[in-house]
Symmetry: C2
Subunit: 308 residues, 2 copies
């Protein structure tokens, strides 16, 4: 059996793992990203984590052929450079060649959403589909697109404006898909709701839990709060808007949602499908809209096997 190392770099955590050539994870490890540090400090930690994963895998190191990395933002896959990422604050980071030098194996670089999309197509929710789009609703919004089993590199619609002159995005534009539909966006809108009504159910839940998360507003809605239900409805309307833009524009066969907000499952998916159905261009085949089934493992498996 041959093995590949997968490295999935997120705004919050970095996960590493050893993956079989058929997409099974045999060992894994995780560290906090702490992106406020220098790029080289983060790199050192990633390498230490890879070594932990390899040590835990109990395989012959010679059978580990390569490592594949998935990272958010705009990348130069050919040269293994992260060109720019607004969430991590990375710029011209020659991460893959540096890592390859230290680890002594080839290291490849893909966009994290692309890698996760490949993972879902190899082993998860989009297995067997001809054109699959994976949308991660996490720190940012990542879009990954796989056609005929191959990553369509650079297909990245998180910074597509859906509301002209809308909310300020970290990228400098106003009204980006990501600004509304990432977990961060939902948390920001939840915080605004709390500021507007500090006595409301959402505020009380946030106070009890000591923080606001992507789930807070869903918990308030569970307790019958109308304001929270309205915010969820608005969130799903924005999400449907972005999705229909991509469905009209590229006509994927499946859309799989991942990231923190997708944990709401059918509660999110059911109203989302309804809203999408109302807006989709006539004549376009309604895609399957489902949850990613591999969770964080998609990023790890896809990153690892993108190095094949």
């Amino acid at each position: 059996m041959k093995y590949y190392v997968g490295i999935d770099i997120g705004g919050t955590n970095i996960k590493t793992g050893v993956v079989t050539e058929t997409g099974e994870i045999v060992s894994e490890h995780s560290i906090p990203t702490r992106a406020e540090r220098s790029q080289n400090e983060v790199l050192k930690d990633i390498i230490a984590s890879v070594r932990e994963s390899v040590a835990g895998a109990n395989v012959n190191p010679d059978d580990i052929l390569a490592a594949g990395m998935g990272t958010p933002g705009f990348i130069d896959s050919k040269n293994g450079i992260v060109i720019y990422n607004n969430n991590l604050g990375w710029r011209d980071f020659r991460i893959a060649p540096e890592m390859s030098r230290v680890l002594g194996i080839p290291v490849t670089l893909e966009n994290d959403a692309d890698a996760a999309a490949l993972g879902e197509v190899i082993a998860g929710s989009a297995k067997g589909t001809k054109s699959a789009m994976i949308i991660t609703l996490g720190t940012g919004v990542g879009t990954g697109y796989v056609v005929d089993g191959k990553i369509v590199r650079g297909c990245e619609f998180g910074h597509m404006v859906i509301e002209f002159g809308g909310r300020r995005c970290t990228c400098g534009r106003k009204g980006c898909f990501e600004t509304y539909c990432s977990a961060t966006g939902l948390i920001n809108m939840t915080k605004e709701l709390i500021a507007q009504n500090p006595e409301g159910k959402t505020a009380l839940i946030a106070a009890k839990e000591g923080s606001v998360g992507g789930q807070t507003v869903f918990e308030a809605a569970d307790e019958g709060d109308r304001e929270a239900a309205e915010l969820i409805d608005r969130y799903i309307s924005y999400l449907a808007c972005g999705l229909v833009n991509l469905i009209n524009g590229l006509q994927p066969e499946t859309i799989s949602l991942g990231g923190g907000v997708a944990k709401q499952g059918e509660r999110l998916l059911k109203p989302l499908r309804q809203k999408v159905g109302l807006e989709i261009y006539e004549g376009i085949t309604f895609p399957k809209i489902v949850n990613c089934t591999l969770g964080y493992k998609a990023g790890l498996i896809g990153a690892a096997l993108s190095a094949r």
Copy 2:
């Protein structure tokens, strides 16, 4: 020499022509679309126009190998069916097999923007570029995308919402790119300006010319009208918004503008490039933004040679 018939179906006119295998037009013909008629009446007219073109070409009919058609809207290229087009009011129109039966040669079908994009890549503004996007600002907004000399079918972003809850589009959504940036959209906004200020320069020009066109507001701005200049600025802001969505999302090497509004040339392109430059995601290569150079001929040449 071998020849192909090109057929370019627009909301206003239908153009037909005989094209050499290297992309030279040897004869052409044009008829008004009059889309309010039945699909079969339009079809009859197209066939008559094709026969005019062939008669005018003075070539051996046996050297005409096939016909290629470009039509707006969503199509099923494989079966030669126009599935739906909101501007023409066409639905499940089996146009290519019908035409093939009558003409006795194979007839292929592509989206009109795709066909025009291929034409510009074969013989026009995007000649030699690896990934070219052509955006037509006409009755609607069409987007055509050609990568490595091949049409990326179904890449159609006219119905991408850029203003959540914005202007009502003929497709049923609100705030589509097309609603703001087509010639129709510009004309609608010009009419609103005239209604708001019936004594203004724009209103006077429209009254003198007897109608409102895409050029009306540019003529008013030429005469120093501030309101008209502001409307143009707003139009270009929307256009930049849609373009940056596509640049961030797909990273084309060139963007070529066609259709009625593009006739404004550098007057449109110069401020457009500035606005795009302010919004583009850091790290993305700024694409060449130019005018289509083949005009309506791109659609004819591309349609014809898509039948190769």
